[in-house]
Subunit: 419 residues, 2 copies
């Protein structure tokens, strides 16, 4: 007996016609000896509508925000209902084409989480009953995003949690794979809106996918890839817009060792949501960096790249860091406030920057990868403002105006262009 988990996102169940198509896709995956569970999101737009309803009560009489402790549990009751609706509808759609199916709400499985409402972490997923049911040929339709605490209160996993639900269910069921149906047909070497010659990847490793996702390739939620990596659940990303039966290979996200032909660079990612903060003439003594980045962390500023260099004056250094663009004013204010205490001469913020990265597990065993990158950018006259590297990634910060040009140049330089 094998088991497979399928997951359909909000646009893939966006109306009753799409729900009917999702049912036909599930039908096509049904083979004797294989139990199926389907995880669904709310109908596209529905979660936003429900969140909007709760907003009326998210503000205190004096105008301040209400304490999440007295808000998030009932917020979860409201917003989790969107997924409940879709589970019932997909179960009906499956039965309508002759397939035994039933919905399982989070509390029925139970799909246990901690009690951090609105951003719950998944705990124990009890699969005895649902597992026996799918093995008996009844397709299980399960709400993504939704769980239940030990004391029987409804929780949600936070936005985009449905992918994570699907992976967690696949892990708990010991499923052979988790197929994530979405509105794109796989993971691409880069954004096809920017590079017409972008290619769909047949396979990508978890590590590469994590770098791709966190860099703005929004195909899969980072959390779901982390969980799949930890639990060794293969994920397949494929299109829900293709009629069942038509070719739809998608991209398999899998362990590195299952990728035979390791590319030096598998993809080029970019993010425009970046700002660069430059601190000039910072006093050079032990603990100064800890002080600066401690203050930023306390202010919830998510710092990414950090570059430190010597300044012209002796005993001084320059520090450059990047953060999400919306956090830039806050970051500057935090440093400004403690400027004299830290010992910083000047603070500059630049918000028209972008981060471009090349990612590939082959990098580990290959030299000259960075040189190719820098040469390709230099050839186009693109100045590099900062560089950061990891084992399987090289990122550069550049003027945002050159984003597309840089991505295209790198895509060509690493031989990723489709024939």
């Amino acid at each position: 007996m094998s088991r497979l988990v399928l997951k359909f996102g909000g646009t893939s169940v966006g109306d009753v016609d799409r729900i009917a198509r999702a049912a036909r896709i599930v039908a096509a995956e049904r083979t004797p000896g294989r139990g199926l569970a389907v995880v669904v999101s709310a109908i596209a737009g529905e979660t936003d509508r429900l969140v909007q309803l709760t907003r009326a009560f998210a503000v205190r009489a004096d105008g301040g925000p209400v304490d999440p402790k007295t808000f998030d549990d009932e917020y979860d009751v409201v917003v989790s209902s969107g997924e409940q609706v879709t589970t019932g509808l997909l179960a009906l759609a499956l039965r309508n084409i002759g397939i035994a199916a039933r919905s399982w709400q989070g509390w029925q499985i139970p799909f246990r989480t901690d009690n951090a409402h609105a951003k719950a972490r998944i705990g124990d997923v009890r699969c005895n009953e649902i597992g026996a049911s799918i093995d008996a040929g009844v397709v299980a339709v399960v709400p993504g995003f939704q769980g239940v605490t030990e004391d029987q209160r409804i929780t949600t996993l936070g936005r985009g949690g449905s992918d994570t639900s699907a992976v967690a269910l696949a892990a708990a069921l010991g499923a052979e794979r988790c197929d994530i149906y979405t509105d794109v047909d796989g993971v691409y070497t880069t954004d096809p809106r920017i590079v017409a010659k972008a290619r769909r990847l047949d396979r990508i490793s978890y590590e590469e996918m994590l770098e791709m996702a966190s860099l703005g390739a929004k195909v899969l939620q980072t959390r779901s890839v982390e969980l799949a990596f930890a639990k060794r659940v293969p994920i397949r990303v494929l299109s829900s817009l293709v009629e069942p039966g038509a070719p739809n290979p998608g991209t398999l996200v899998c362990p590195e060792e299952e990728i035979v032909e390791k590319q030096v660079v598998s993809g080029v990612a970019y993010s425009r949501d970046e700002a660069k903060v430059t601190l000039l003439g910072v006093e050079d003594h032990p603990g100064v960096a800890a002080d600066i980045f401690g203050r930023l962390a306390d202010a919830n500023v998510n710092v990414d790249m950090i570059v430190q260099s010597e300044a012209r004056q002796p005993g001084r250094q320059n520090i450059v860091f990047t953060c999400p663009d919306r956090d830039a004013p806050k970051a500057a204010a935090v440093i400004q406030e403690a400027r004299e205490k830290i010992g910083v001469e000047e603070i500059h913020v630049r918000r028209d920057v972008a981060k471009v990265s090349v990612i590939g597990i082959g990098m580990r065993s290959q030299v000259g990868v960075a040189r190719t990158m820098f040469a390709a950018l230099a050839q186009k006259g693109i100045n590099i403002e900062a560089i950061a590297t990891s084992e399987i990634k090289i990122s550069v910060l550049i003027d945002a105006a050159y984003t597309e040009l840089a991505v295209r140049a790198l895509h060509t330089a690493y031989g990723l262009d489709a024939a």
Copy 2:
């Protein structure tokens, strides 16, 4: 410690402003030593929207309707979500004005029902936990319409079941009363749209209310009044549109013995959804009526008044009955089909008829009530097509064109007009 159940219908929680007002109404009912539970419907229009979504899967590929056995359980999963949303929102609205509150879904209480999905009957409502919580000062917000089976599947009570949920919860909690907030300010002596001088009743007995409700005064669901009658739960019907603090006496539906001044006639009800079927020259032998009405029952025709009289020919009789207007063609067809077997000479259907009734527990001890009715109608030249009586009700069938005239004449004749 006393307990009170409040119930808000769909229009009373029709948007976030109304939900906020409902919260203020609940706040005004909060006194030390009194535990509160609030039952809510879905936001007006929401249940219809959800039902509509399920319709896409209610038809088989060959065009026939799907078997309810493979439909109603998941239909319940979909449509019950509307009430879940309102419970979360009202709990948030209550907390927003400083009142401790939490939602309790049907499965959390548990609010047990049988497994007749889409029209479930209420079983055991376990109130230990929710009762302790409201006694501790936490307002419980409970979805109407929704329950859970022994094997943990979601059920719904059928349309309008929220009133019944509220009464069942009040009975289980041993509440002093069940206050039903709606878009009218009480039960009237007749329809105020027809009779400008209609008066709000301060009190009405369960028996009278049952006759009023089933005759088309749509203030309370018949099922909820039956349950309140059986469990001796007083119901108060009052307006949710009045600001908290303003006078809002409503109408108390209570045991007969609590009504000191018993009116001979408390109200005048009417129904235009009537058709009259006349069977002429029916063979007069034992069992013929059982045969006719057995066939109608098998065809699910809901027969109301029945009048039997001798025909001109010896050995023949005439039978007149009424049924809901939409059932009339079916009723005629059923008889037509078995006409020779039963022995019926002619079948006539008249669809432009209305039923007008006077209702009052005082009738039991009063003579001449019918005479007043017939005289009032005769005076206006209104012909009576059929008469039916019960202990506390007299109904007549008349030409539908005279409905308003008849209601007004009777309202005056029984001294019900407001000063």
